[in-house]
């Protein structure tokens, strides 16, 4: 139920009454249905599952999570083994 991967929206268009778009998954491009993410803009990211964008990917949340994790869990790396807790 789960194979959803992030992709960057390259263009959007209407087809048979549905909002569609060309989405780039980092080197492979496929048409995906954007009907469930109608406010998406070109250049933004979506999570695509079976050819449908089911959610937008919040770059802000992605960055903040990584920063938060890095600040806590990479600290030991920087301090070195003798100083780690």
């Amino acid at each position: 139920m789960c194979l959803g991967i992030p992709g960057k929206v390259l263009e959007t268009y209407q087809q048979d009454g549905l909002l569609m778009g060309k989405v780039d998954f980092g080197g492979a491009v496929r048409e995906s249905c954007l009907a469930y993410t109608p406010d998406i803009e070109v250049g933004e990211y979506v999570i695509v599952h079976v050819g449908f964008a089911i959610s937008t990917l919040s770059e802000k949340e992605a960055q903040e999570t990584l920063e938060a994790l890095r600040s806590v869990y990479l600290l030991e790396e920087e301090l070195g083994p003798e100083e780690a807790g």
Partner: protein, 365 residues
């Protein structure tokens, strides 16, 4: 890819794993209920890097595995018809029915086609107005919006030769069934990230409350998985019961409301039989009366099917997290991916297939 490789960072993942080892003080049992997460844990070897105190069990999160035997047999009966083009996600082709699987229907001349997206099936129906095109609509809530859109589109385009064979299942009732069972030893839960992308996670706090089980909405990359586990263990250690979001880049509390609205307009809840577990009340979706015309079970006469499971297969116990695949006597001997006894060995996200492919024996590294 930017938002994939960052979440496969070895140093960061190892850092979180160390924290997990440091913070755990007693044994805990945590369940994940998503085939994709099962697959990822084993494929990256994360399950072996977990502290000994932590027992990770796998729930019935594989829609392929839980699709009832009767429905598979119906799919095979429909696919074998000369007037039908049977379309399906790739996962379903090798799942054994009572006698055979969809692959062998194709080998016998049936027109069985793998599609990547349900809209591909709609296109096939447009291209072949003289044939009946049936789409095997399996999945949890993640796949439901896509499946539902296919029938909404078919109706809008006036495609009378299109129909859905529906096997939609819902996570919350399954969680109630598992956590409410007397045999359950599950103390913490990782919820399925992409199910929550669609549905949000507003359905989970009442479940967490009722059973006293903390939960974390979890993604699929190594960092996501360990982050979710760490979050749940931290809650368990502190005695907290709450639902946290460890996949905030793709999940919000309310979820995708547009998708939820379309689902409400297309489907209605129903009881559903979960292969290996039995009927769970309200655990499925079927097409509502407005879309009855597109229901393949009504369109094709497939009522008289006798289904019979293998007696040796313990998929049910595995799907409920009561046993792990290596505890099955048939695992790796009578039952392998080449000759599977049950769906959990066929589907690449089924726990048995994942263990076989990546682990093989209980004593391997």
């Amino acid at each position: 890819m930017k938002y994939i490789s960052d979440y496969r960072d070895a140093d960061l993942t190892q850092g979180l794993l160390q924290e997990l080892r440091d913070c755990i003080t007693q044994p805990w049992v945590v369940m994940e209920i998503c085939g994709g997460q099962t697959h990822a844990f084993v494929r990256y070897g994360i399950d072996q890097l977990l502290p000994k105190h932590l027992t990770l069990v796998h729930g019935p999160g594989c829609p392929v595995c839980v699709t009832s035997l009767e429905l598979i047999d119906k799919a095979i009966a429909i696919a074998a018809r000369e007037d039908v083009i049977f379309t399906s996600y790739g996962d379903m082709l090798r799942v054994p029915g009572t006698e055979r699987d969809l692959f062998s229907v194709r080998a016998d001349g049936g027109d069985v086609r793998v599609v990547y997206s349900p809209l591909d099936a709609v296109r096939i129906a447009q291209k072949h107005p003289d044939r009946e095109v049936v789409f095997f609509a399996i999945g949890f809530e993640t796949t439901a919006p896509a499946n539902a859109m296919s029938v909404v589109q078919a109706k809008a385009l006036g495609l009378e030769n299109f129909s859905l064979l529906v096997s939609q299942v819902r996570v919350p009732p399954a969680m109630h069934a598992i956590l409410g069972s007397e045999e359950s030893r599950v103390q913490g839960f990782l919820t399925a990230g992409h199910v929550c992308s669609v549905m949000g996670y507003w359905e989970y706090p009442p479940i967490a409350e009722r059973y006293g089980v903390p939960m974390s909405v979890t993604g699929f990359e190594p960092l996501d998985l360990v982050q979710g586990l760490l979050d749940v263990v931290q809650m368990l250690e502190a005695g907290d019961v709450a639902v946290h979001n460890s996949y905030s880049r793709a999940v919000t509390f309310e979820g995708n409301q547009l998708a939820q609205k379309l689902l409400a307009n297309t489907y209605e809840t129903c009881d559903r039989a979960w292969r290996g577990i039995g009927v769970i009340a309200d655990s499925g979706w079927r097409l509502n009366p407005a879309f009855e015309f597109f229901d393949a079970e009504k369109r094709f006469d497939v009522g008289d099917i006798q289904s019979k499971e293998s007696e040796v297969c313990i998929a049910g116990e595995i799907l409920q997290g009561l046993k792990i695949p290596t505890q099955c006597p048939a695992f790796g001997s009578l039952c392998t991916p080449e000759h599977p006894l049950g769906a959990t060995m066929v589907s690449s996200e089924g726990a048995c297939a994942a263990y076989y492919r990546y682990r093989r024996s209980p004593s391997s590294e």
